[in-house]
């Protein structure tokens, strides 16, 4: 159990290009689709919590899922599993990277991964558009308004989460 948690998040940490958002689709795939550790709506709740609480989203997510599955030890396992590849890579790569900033392999990799990461993040969003999360046309409206607010007006996500929460409380 702990090993499975550790392995899942180690993999995510190792291939999680694009920061927290890029990892969401990976976490979602491993946690919801592959291992069935939680449902899609539970995952959405956790994402909301991770966004509201201080700290990186992916670490918050990992910690929560770890706690949910294996208590305090599980939480520590997942958090460090997520960070371990980064730490190892930084130790191994950092001095080399300093000298090879202009290395064509590095440049090519970063350039080609960019659109792929965009696709992965988008897929995470699309996968969450299901009946558990969208319980009626009101949900679609909330989604559209929030999208416009954050995309065009750059409203702070935390305010948006709080506002939608208040709306949910009074409406449902």
């Amino acid at each position: 159990m702990y090993l499975k948690l550790f392995w899942s998040f180690f993999k995510i940490g190792l291939f999680g290009f694009g920061g927290g958002y890029g990892m969401i689709s990976m976490i979602q795939f491993d946690v919801v689709d592959k291992n069935g550790w939680m449902t899609n709506s539970e995952f959405a709740d956790i994402l909301a919590l991770s966004q509201m609480t201080p700290g990186p989203i992916s670490i918050n997510c990992a910690t929560y899922i770890g706690y949910n599955q294996g208590g305090v030890i599980g939480a520590i396992f997942t958090t460090f599993a997520l960070c371990l590849p980064t730490v190892l890579l930084m130790v191994a790569v950092i001095t080399w990277l300093f000298k090879n900033k202009e290395n064509h392999y590095v440049k090519a990799l970063l350039a080609s991964l960019n659109p792929i990461v965009v696709g992965l993040i988008f897929s995470a969003g699309v996968l969450m558009m299901n009946k558990e999360n969208f319980i009626g046309f009101e949900s679609v409206i909330i989604c559209a308004i929030v999208f416009i607010a954050t995309f065009f007006f750059k409203v702070n996500p935390i305010y948006l989460i709080i506002m939608s929460g208040i709306f949910g409380y009074f409406y449902y």
């Binding site: 291939f15 990976m26 958090t79 590849p85 080609s112 659109p115 996968l127 969208f134 949900s139 506002m163």
Partner: protein
């Protein structure tokens, strides 16, 4: 430099913390700043998760989260599109993210494998191309060379995504 550090796989905050810590105080500095970046999350989420499972059953909380869930979906979709615009890729490359998303959503292929395939394809492509260039060694015009490189990268992306689709 920070941009390279941040584009390494892993958590932004952890990457940056490690890098800054290392620059300022060596290995110990990196270790300390790493703990500084991780511990608050661990503690706060630890505290929340102990009681969240019970709260979730609560009717008021359920109502609130009914409102929040679609909001979260929008908060994920928006940055993906923003990222595409910020990367300054031309609209020609829009099929790549769409293809990747389709592969994940419909074929249920793990994102980890997609990234792996993309890495391998890019490296192979670069290796092949630069072997040819080393052989020729005639072209010293670096500007032209850079342009062709960029075009090749874009081809690689298409190849890698297409492979995933098969």
């Amino acid at each position: 430099m920070i941009t390279i550090v941040q584009s390494l796989p892993g958590v932004f905050a952890v990457n940056t913390a490690l890098y800054v810590g290392y620059r300022i105080a060596g290995k110990c500095g990196a270790a300390v700043s790493f703990l500084g970046a991780v511990l608050p999350s661990l503690l706060i989420i630890g505290a929340i998760s102990t009681c969240f499972q019970e709260f979730r059953e609560n009717e008021t909380v359920m109502k609130i989260f009914n409102g929040i869930r679609p909001c979260v979906v929008a908060l994920i979709l928006a940055p993906s599109i923003k990222m595409f615009i910020k990367s300054e890729l031309s609209w020609k490359f829009l099929p790549i993210p769409i293809l990747v998303a389709a592969v994940v959503v419909f074929l249920k292929i793990s994102p980890v494998y997609i990234i792996m395939a993309a890495i391998i394809c890019t490296l192979c492509w670069e290796y092949r191309k630069f072997k040819d260039i080393d052989k020729k060694k005639s072209d010293n015009n670096t500007d032209n060379h850079d342009d062709s490189e960029e075009d090749d990268e874009k081809n690689v992306e298409f190849i890698s995504t297409k492979k995933e689709n098969d």
